[in-house]
Amino acid sequence: MTSKHNEQAALIERIQLQQEELKRRLDEEQINLRELARRLWTQQESEKARLSRELHDGVGQLLTGLTRRLQGIASNQPEFTELYDIAEMALADVRQLSRMMSPTILDDLGLKPALKWLCRNLFEAEGIQYACDINLKGDIPKVQAILVFRIAQEALVNALKHSRADTITVNLAQHHQVLRLDVIDNGVGFDVENIERGIGMSSMLDRASAFDAELTFQARPQQGTHITLTVAL
């Protein structure tokens, strides 16, 4: 009897140890995966920065040269004015693309001006009313700044493309060591339960979770969309 008891106890202990070992390995895997995800996002960011520089310094410089030449010609021969205008638009588009790809304003000036710039760039020309209210207590570390900026960018571009909103609000606030970003629009919204996650939405969620941030979507058909990101500093 006792020997059977002892046997059982030993067995239970072994199972417990095995479970602990499995749990430890699982946790380790999770940490590894998260680190991998983080590395991938960081790599993507530096790849974008490289492309952006090439675009700006390569095509951008060529177009600058072309634009100047056409400007010179157009000042004597007005029939070339249209060509000059087209070249100038192409130059402006390349610059815009390069800046959206890698916002140097984030490195140069920080998160607040970068978000204001983003809103202005996306909405001013579209005639969309927007408010961008940002309250930060100090400098935000680069990793979190990039995360907040990219999530905001994705959310705002989505709002612009799909929501048909005429008013968009961006709030960024800091409470102690937590940053909270809210992006709210008054557009067509969607059904959170029944939506098939698009690439944009999934990638926002992936990105947030890679950096230990929490991202939530609140939306209902015809009642706008509210996206909230919270991230610890």
Partner: protein, 208 residues
């Protein structure tokens, strides 16, 4: 009396070119050059230049932080920012940080030298937004033609980067009046921000 300049830009070719252009002017002497913000602060403390001409994007210490530290060390330091960015946010951020002027890298050397002279004499020199190195192309129709005399004054002050509050002070009017003028101008010119107004003014060749 020559104006003593310290020049900071991490692009060596750009810096050498600038240095040559500036030294070619009899009234200007480049007394020091450097390629990052940390060196810049050392140089300014050691050489006591009249005007600092600096880029924003530099290694080791960003331009914004460098301006902050420079002004903490020498509050009377006159800083002219030389940048490739023509966005409103850049100009505002540099103005808020305490720079006295902002000129685009693509501007002609005359524009740069004028800006240096202006801020040396205690004025400000904020120029911006889609300004071209005009080869003398006439403005198609001057946008200010539709404005009243008072609105034109306000227009040029807005284009020079002044806030409504500064305009109110400069023209001795109430803030409310300055803002009214501003919104009337925006309506008449069909623009919705000072950036657009500056861009319009730049395109019409009104910024110089």
């Amino acid at each position: 009396m020559t104006i003593k300049i310290v020049l900071a830009d991490d692009h060596v070719l750009m810096r050498q070119g600038l240095s040559q252009v500036l030294n070619a002017d009899a009234g200007i002497d480049v007394i020091g050059e450097c390629g990052d913000g940390v060196e810049l602060i050392e140089l300014v403390i050691r050489l006591k230049p009249d005007v600092v001409v600096m880029d924003i994007s530099m290694p080791r210490m960003s331009g914004l932080v460098a301006i902050d530290k420079l002004l903490a060390q020498r509050p009377d330091c006159k800083i002219l920012v030389l940048s490739m960015h023509n966005e409103l946010e850049y100009i505002e951020a540099m103005q808020d940080a305490g720079a006295k002027g902002y000129v685009l890298k693509e501007s002609s050397s005359d524009v740069l030298i004028d800006a240096i002279r202006s801020i040396y004499h205690g004025r400000t020199a904020f120029i911006a937004a889609h300004q071209r190195n005009d080869t003398g192309k006439p403005a198609r129709v001057s946008p200010v033609a539709a404005l009243t005399r008072r609105e034109r004054e306000v227009f040029f002050l807005v284009a020079a980067g002044n806030t409504s509050k500064q305009i109110a002070e400069l023209l001795t009017m109430s803030l409310k009046t300055a803002e009214n003028h501003r919104s009337n101008i925006y309506k008449k010119l069909n623009v919705s921000s000072s950036a657009e107004l500056i861009r319009l003014a730049g395109k019409a060749g009104l910024l110089e």
